[in-house]
Amino acid sequence: MGGADTEGSEEFQVTWRLGRVLDDCASLGFDGAPVPWRDFLEAFERAGSQALFAPESQDAPILIAGPAETAGLAVDGIWFLGASEDAWPASGTTHPFLPISVQREARMPHAAAQFDWDLAQAITTRLTASAPKVNFSYARQTDEVEARPSRVIAKIAGAPQALPEALRPATVREAATKEWTDLSRVPFPGGKVRGGARVLTSQSECPFKAFATARLGAEGWDSAEAGLTAAQRGQLLHAVLKLAWDANESGVGSHAELMAIADLRGFVEERVRRALAEELRHGEHEVMPPRYLELEHVRLTNLVAEWLEYEKTRAPFKVEGTEVKREPQIEGLDLNLRMDRVDRLKDGKLLVIDYKSGDVDPKMWELPRPDDVQLPLYAGFALDAEAECGGLVFAKVRAGEVEFAGRVDDAKGTLRPKTSGNSNLVKKPLTPEQLTLWKEYIEKCAKSFMAGHAEVDPRDYPDTCKECALKTLCRIEELQEQLGTSVGNQGGGDE
């Protein structure tokens, strides 16, 4: 509908019809008791979906109607579609509340096959008189089922003939589109780019993903969900942990201060309360059942308390900062980074921490082509130049599964004396060489992004693409088909 000031006929009809639906709904609550908004909305939605509405139009050039609605019709031409044996005469069931004998006596539709035949015959005959030319057509096959022409119509109009040549769809000409592999690259002109570390992670996963998200602004959208979304729950957890470890926010700033908390649960609970109040500001408290949010309170308290108990077993440390912002430039690419937390370990080195509530594995950092470069990026480019990196870890804050996972240079010495010797933290220590290799790789990624590399080249198809929302944009599935055949040809088949 246009943006004109005056209401057209259709707009008027729509508003009028909507008003009637509203009136109907309003008349539902006759006991005078107030109805909660949510219930009313549901009733309104239901009434709306059941309301029949078709704008009236006069002298429409083409009228679409069912055969039963054509009495008194006088038109220039009629096309009767779907004239197959199973559709015409129309079949149906008898009325459940009337005895079948009564229905037969009254010749009600569907009470006997013969009545349906007679009715169809009468309507068909009437139709042939309603226009100088009447066409009947049916599809020979639908859903792999062979259809036959309606016998009623065949008796009146004769045996079916093939569609005249003039009415057939134009034969497919050669496609007007030409296939052309576009490998030209449009360099990134510089400036702010959205997504922080994710840009380079994407560049590593699949250059096209980085290009589409960071430069084209493409993104999938989340479906509406009841309850808190995974993202909201993650934010809540981050917020609680920030409140716990931010000395400016009356949190604790070191291992020693953590150990000194007398009532850890009370300490956590207080922060959970604050986070729930501050983070849920978009009506969640009204939409979601209060008891559900109370359970979220319990969950967060248990979870964070469990996590802090775990941190108590660490070697002494000091919190250097939480949600630390840095804006490094890599190969001309300006990035906005925010580290969840940076600790100073007892040997003076820095530890980069990222809170995760999902299942994560530092394997994703492995060269030659990592799935994720976020923490290597922080370690290489977001710490102060003179600082030495003692490790990068995921803090896995999951119920029943709290632990650090990542690479540190001295797990037993500076991270956690109790770390098991079998743990990857001990078995795969962080080395300066590793940090250098990561740095070089990340620089390569940045360079490739800046140069405009945008190939659809997922690291590990189809795993990399599983959660990616861009599939309709990059058309990986089509591409993969072509790729699959060429790979097969090169490799030679089994004989």
Binding site: P96, A113, W117, L228, R291
Partner: protein
């Protein structure tokens, strides 16, 4: 599929004749390519030639395409210039009784089980509480989700039992609303597997339910030795699940009646309830509907689910007597592949052994017919394959499963080259599994699944290299 009836009599012609005998209830084992559709159409015609009105014969197929194919096959037989003997008899009867079958084929009752159930359900608007209309939902998932969401919203409601059950589940699943909601959606989708009387009973007897659920974990040959029990904590969760599921099922019915729409599971449920009636006595209308069905034909019986099986049982149970009524089921137990679609491969063998068990009555017994002629495959191919598999089957693979090739007389047929022009006899390659071996196989399959390692992706390497 082969379209022509064999011109020369097939070597299993005697069996085929028995399969169309309108005085017998017959169970047919029909291997692939043995002309099953032709046989079904043939029996349908033989029945039409005898019944008082065409609506007394009901054929149930597995898909819409199969129903249409069968209908077309029957009509082709009747409309051809040179009708067969039986087709001529049907035409004569149609004329004599003024059925006018050629013009009014809607009288032939051939449909899928779902459509058949819908027809039954439509006649019982009070039971379905879906008066007015009964649309089949295109997107039932949306309705499941709505019901699931409403169920969980009851966490803010008045029902204390339900409230604490939802709380227990939420806390157990890390207060993940989406997770529980999705699981409920999935359970509603598959509710014909769990929605039984004992789940929906008004006041659940939790102790009986618990014992019942623990029974399969029993040890020993007959599973009677003391069972592994649920811990009290686990049982709390199971109990909460049942409480929530029960509510979700009820919410779903509300959603259905609000929209006048239902899914196939619901329609089947309504049909079954209609047949069963209140307090075990079906209504007059239902009885009349069942009474009017004198002959049943069921295709693809190896893929029949328990739901379909029960419907068949209820229909037959509602027959006032069995005189002059038959049931014909055809399938190929070797082709039962739809386990994931609720098919129960065991049912075919059970019906063959015990007949169709009818509540409060004797089982309905079937004559078994085994088809062996193959109209689809070249004789040379069949013989070569059969010979090759004889050698394969002779090897003991240590699985405890005995394999065998063609039966003796079948093999003889092959050797003597009893082959019609362009057709061959194929003999079923059978798997014989004693019950014990079957359990063993199931166990080892489970273990190997457990030990299976995630598949490595070699293509990824190629791509990243």
């Amino acid at each position: 599929m082969s379209n022509t009836e064999p011109k020369t009599p097939a070597p299993d012609q005697a069996e085929r004749d028995r399969a169309v005998d309108t005085t017998l209830s017959v169970l047919v084992r029909a291997p692939a390519g043995s002309g099953k559709t032709t046989l079904l159409a043939g029996r349908f015609l033989h029945l039409l030639a005898e019944v008082d009105n065409p609506e007394q014969v009901v054929a149930i197929t597995f898909t819409n395409a199969a129903a249409a194919e069968m209908r077309n096959r029957i009509l082709d037989e009747l409309r051809t210039d040179k009708p067969s003997d039986v087709a001529r008899r049907v035409l004569a009867r149609s004329q004599e009784r003024k059925w006018d079958l050629l013009d009014l084929p809607a009288q032939l009752r051939i449909s899928t089980i779902d459509a058949f159930c819908r027809e039954l359900a439509l006649q019982r608007p009070l039971i379905s509480s879906l008066g007015g209309g009964l649309h089949i939902a295109d997107q039932p998932k949306e309705m499941y989700r709505k019901a699931a969401r409403r169920t969980l919203n009851a966490i803010g409601g008045d029902d204390a039992d339900l409230r604490s059950a939802i709380e227990a589940l939420l806390l157990w699943r890390d207060n993940n609303w989406q997770d529980i909601e999705s699981q409920l959606v999935e359970m509603l989708d598959k509710r014909e597997r769990w929605m039984r009387e004992f789940v929906l009973a008004h006041d659940a007897d939790w102790e009986t339910l618990r014992e019942r659920l623990e029974r399969p974990f029993g040890r020993g040959e007959d599973l009677t030795e003391p069972a592994t029990r649920y811990s009290d904590q686990e049982w709390e969760i199971v109990r909460a699940c049942f409480t929530v599921l029960k509510r979700a099922a009820a919410e779903l019915q509300v959603v259905f009646s609000e929209t006048g729409t239902a899914d196939y599971t619901e329609v089947a449920q309504i049909a079954a309830n209609a047949l069963k009636g209140e307090e075990g006595i079906p209504s007059e209308g239902t009885l009349a509907a069942a009474d009017n069905i004198r002959h049943l034909l069921v295709d693809e019986f190896q893929d029949a689910s328990r739901k379909q099986h029960r419907l068949l049982q209820s229909l037959i149970a509602a027959w006032p007597d069995r005189e002059g009524r038959t049931c014909f089921v055809v399938g190929d137990p070797m082709q039962s592949i739809y386990l994931f679609r609720e098919a129960d491969a065991e049912l075919f063998g059970r019906v063959e052994r015990l007949g169709l068990e009818i509540e409060g009555d004797l089982p309905l017994q079937f004559d078994t017919v085994q088809l062996s002629a193959n109209f689809r495959t070249e004789p040379g191919l069949v013989n070569t394959l059969n010979r090759a598999f004889e050698d394969v089957f002779r090897v003991d693979d240590g699985s405890g499963v005995t394999f065998r090739g063609p039966r003796q007389h079948e093999a003889r047929d092959i050797q003597h080259g009893r082959v019609c022009k362009g057709r061959a006899w194929n003999c079923t390659l059978s798997l014989c599994r004693p019950a014990k071996a079957e359990r063993k196989v199931a166990r080892s399959a489970k273990e190997s699944k457990k030990n299976a390692r995630p598949r490595r992706r070699s293509r990824a390497k190629r791509l990243s290299g």
